[in-house]
Symmetry: C2
Subunit: 177 residues, 2 copies
DNA sequence: ATCATTGGCTTACACCGTTAGCCAACCTCA
DNA sequence: TGAGGTTGGCTAACGGTGTAAGCCAATGAT
């Protein structure tokens, strides 16, 4: 019967998460250390623990915020598009290219759902299901394809001369219902 | 005009890489530290540096060996199958399930191609191209799909009640030429 | 017999996440 | 007004990480 984490973070927590986001976007995931983050805030690393229980909590707060942002983008892409799936795929890829470190943070580990804003994963996934007329199996396949293309591109796993636009197109055309 | 890394590792290096593999398979990626590895070898961590220049080199040696193993499996799956793409997908997924930590090691960062066995990436990718009659764009799309399904499954990103067999099937059927 | 190479070793450095415990400033309430 | 509790800083420290420097015994070649 103990309380859960409060769903509304304090202003200070929001400041800390915002600083963490800047740090990650500017210097990459490896630069996200408690000491480095504390430097940006003008405090010492242990003080962060007055606001967040550990580093994973910080990461999950940042991931939650990024999911919110992604969800809004996806919903906007979907709204009134003649080609919902294509619009969604473009929005997905663009977000990852604009925020490669955040994208990695969101996707490269498994995450504790209890520490995320409740329902946010589902909200971010919903537009894809909708674009595929409620076919969840197909939506999962398309999500896997999009994530695979995205992370392999970010990680430079494709040959240098690969035509990724073409690969995206081939995949989407095949998966389109 | 300096020499490259010798392509044939010394016996001691092969011992070290073999110990690293056991460590990773038994205890997971996070357990792969130079000190932990040294323990298994009955030596001290700095001694490893007499054989390998740094940890990334160790990881790349392990990744190279794993690529070799994967390539052999894929070639075998392809040989004389009535459904080459299906056989390949099954081999791909099975390998990752049997060796989740190795699969993560291979895929979760970008890699220095200079430190890999030359040509091994291409050899591991070749069966997929062949199964798709030389269509490289489509092969890349299928690879992205397979990797996406695999890593999202390993990281528990799908809802607990998701029917992943069905999602695989839907994706493969759509992408089959 | 000498000398170089190999492959161990210890020590040490700078970084990491995190805990313990101290204390000043502030808020609340009698 | 004064007392007491809460908040949010701080320092010091622990055990972990990758890795560099330098010492030395055993081995092998000239």
């Amino acid at each position: 019967m103990t309380d859960e984490q409060p769903d509304v973070p304090s202003p200070r927590v929001r400041q800390i998460v915002a600083a963490a986001r800047e740090l990650v976007e500017e210097e990459g995931l490896d630069a996200l250390s408690m000491r480095h983050l504390a430097d940006r805030l003008g405090i010492r690393a242990p003080s962060i623990y007055k606001h967040l229980p550990d580093k994973r909590a910080l990461e999950h707060a940042l991931i939650s915020a990024t999911f919110e942002e992604q969800a809004a983008l996806f919903e906007a892409a979907l709204a009134g598009s003649a080609d919902p799936l294509g619009a969604l795929a473009t929005a997905y890829r663009d977000f990852a290219r604009r925020h490669p470190h955040l994208y990695r943070l969101m996707t490269q580990r498994s995450l504790d759902r209890d520490r995320l804003n409740p329902g946010i994963e589902e909200r971010a996934a919903q537009p894809m299901v909708q674009a595929l007329d409620g076919d969840r199996d197909l939506a999962r396949a398309v999500w896997a394809f999009a994530h695979g293309m995205t992370i392999l591109e970010l990680d430079n796993r494709f040959p240098a001369d690969a035509d990724l636009d073409a690969a995206w197109q081939r995949g989407l055309d095949a998966l389109r219902p």
